[in-house]
């Protein structure tokens, strides 16, 4: 009897480990090992022909803190995240609420909103390049009709980052809308009816009932949007290459530049580690703090 139970328990344990193994192997090879290797290489100096790589501790990190471009890139990225995340979430929510209501051509509206997400990043960037091109671009053509002067949206430091921000919002809002739309469909219809009978206006219903019930989705989207804001690189390749004079350079692009344009992999590694730490901390705050104030159905 006793051995029977033990055998069963062992069988369950083996079963559990078998289920875990594929994910564990993949994560180890492609996530855990690279992270640790990056951390390791960030502690060594650059390997040149004259001077072999040697252990330098935190020197790569202090170099970065002393680098004005690093601070510019961080500032750019904060602005970029600070604008794209709330704005794209707000737009996604508004679109989802609209696409979820009883309107004609609902399927068309949903598809239209989702189209930017389906486009490959590079194609989307080229599309916007055409919008932004001075003189020929759609924006300037329209502006020209009203007699506005030609603006080189991507070519001047004051507007380059904002131009990138608008492309990102355009691309992300539709994607986030899908999540909101799915969440909205899990809210039972009779909650709306009950609120109607109690005399709640559409706005009160949205604010007091719908938004709180969408909080888990919002949290999920926020984490995703944050990660995306650090991950953005392909638009920059097509649209600005980080310029002019670093005005639209974001963290990942800078890391890429350091590693593969300047071949300074130790500094790139150090910066990668800092990004990982910051992202980890923010995700932890989001999940542990906001999570507690969120209602899950």
């Amino acid at each position: 009897m006793n051995s029977h139970v033990n055998l069963e328990r062992r069988r369950q344990a083996i079963y559990g480990w078998l289920l875990l193994t594929p994910a564990m192997i993949l994560l180890s090879i492609f996530a855990f090992y690279p992270s640790i290797a990056t951390l390791w290489s960030s502690l060594f100096s650059r390997n040149t022909r004259r001077r072999p790589s040697e252990y330098v501790g935190g020197e790569n990190y202090s170099d970065l803190f002393a680098d004005p471009t690093f601070w510019l890139v961080v500032k750019n990225n904060l602005l970029y995240a600070g604008v794209t995340i709330p704005v794209s979430i707000a737009i996604a929510l508004a679109m989802a609420l609209w696409a979820n209501s009883k309107i004609s051509a609902r399927g068309f509206v949903r598809t239209a909103y989702f189209t930017p997400t389906v486009l490959p990043m590079i194609a989307a960037a080229n599309l916007w390049l055409f919008f932004y091109t001075p003189g020929l671009g759609v924006l300037d053509q329209i502006g020209g009709l009203f007699g506005l002067p030609t603006v080189n949206w991507l070519g001047q430091p004051e507007t380059a980052l904002w131009a990138i921000i608008i492309v990102t919002i355009w691309k992300e809002a539709g994607f986030f809308m899908i999540f909101y739309l799915a969440a909205l469909q899990t809210i039972p219809e009779d909650l709306k009816e009950a609120a109607d009978i109690e005399g709640a206006s559409r706005w009160t219903y949205t604010r007091r009932i719908v938004l709180p019930l969408l909080m888990p989705t919002t949290l999920f989207i926020m984490v995703n949007a944050l990660i995306n804001s650090v991950k953005l690189i392909d638009h920059l390749f097509i649209l600005t290459k980080g310029g002019p004079s670093d005005a639209s350079k974001l963290i990942l692009y800078y890391i890429w530049e350091m590693a593969f344009a300047f071949f300074d992999s130790p500094h790139a590694a150090a910066m990668t580690i800092m990004v990982l730490v910051v992202l980890g901390v923010v995700a932890a705050i989001q999940f542990f703090y906001i999570d507690k104030r969120t209602h899950y159905q």
Binding site: A194, D196, E198, A200, H295
Partner: protein, 339 residues
Amino acid sequence: MSEQPFVVLDNVAKRWNGQLGVEHVSLDIEEGAFVALLGPSGCGKSTTLRLLAGLETADEGRILIDGRDVTTSAASDRNLSMVFQSYALFPHLSVAENVVFGLKVRRVPRAERREKLTRALTITGLIGYEVRKPGELSGGQRQRVALARAIVAGQRLCLMDEPLSNLDAKLRTSVRKDIKKLQQDLGITVIYVTHDQTEAMSMADKIVLMKDGHIQQVGTPSDLYNKPNNTFVAEFIGAPPMALIASEALAGFGPSKRIGLRAENIVLAPEGTGRMTCRVSESEFLGAETLIGLEHEQATGLTIIRPGLSPMTVGQEVGITFDDADLHIFDASGNRLVS
């Protein structure tokens, strides 16, 4: 002017894309009444309730509540409350917040709100559960939260859409009594949708039996039981349902009529003296009594009630007899013939 009923439905109809919802629904309901809308699934009883609530708009006819024409009014302007089948509690709000949601929306002052909340929670026995979320309550407690939300504003009309169908059988019986008592104590008018005839019979002052979007009969429970308008009512009300016998099977009733007979009016006849001879098809022991199902070529639903445990052998031939006064006579299309 004669006194007008509290709620009036005047020839109301509702269709969806040409498909019938309800039609020719006319109904007068007095203030303080407990009215059950009864019928099988898809009969239009819920549609009727939703038309009253203002969750659907009638295609034809008029709806009056308290003398006011509300046919096109919004749900919130009809001064009524509603208990939903699924309870429709807001899952992220606590019991107290759920109950006062409507008061808050209608900007009732805080002190009054608290007082009404305490009263509603006391009546429904929910004191001590104020801060719980609906997800942390049992089915019966959730049901009471829905009731508390319905009575807290003190509306004189309360609509209930199968409020007991998600409860288990035992709880259903006790909540049934609670709801009836609540309605009488508060003196409110309740319109109650159910597909369970026991619920309707035990709670309602007046039953509206519907089928395929039409009202079949309106009356007191005893009217429906003792004087069914047609064979549908006869077979729907009562457990076991009324047996129907083709008139050819009995002497002296003429052709092509149907004769209804309740189980409690049938007795076994001594051998050879029965008015009909049937075959026993099943015995169902219920504790206090045993139901004996009988088969006859020209009858459906014949049942005898015998006290205690007294099963009979399946296949046995028995004679039955009954009093002519207990018979309900329907014409060929199933409508009651006044005898």
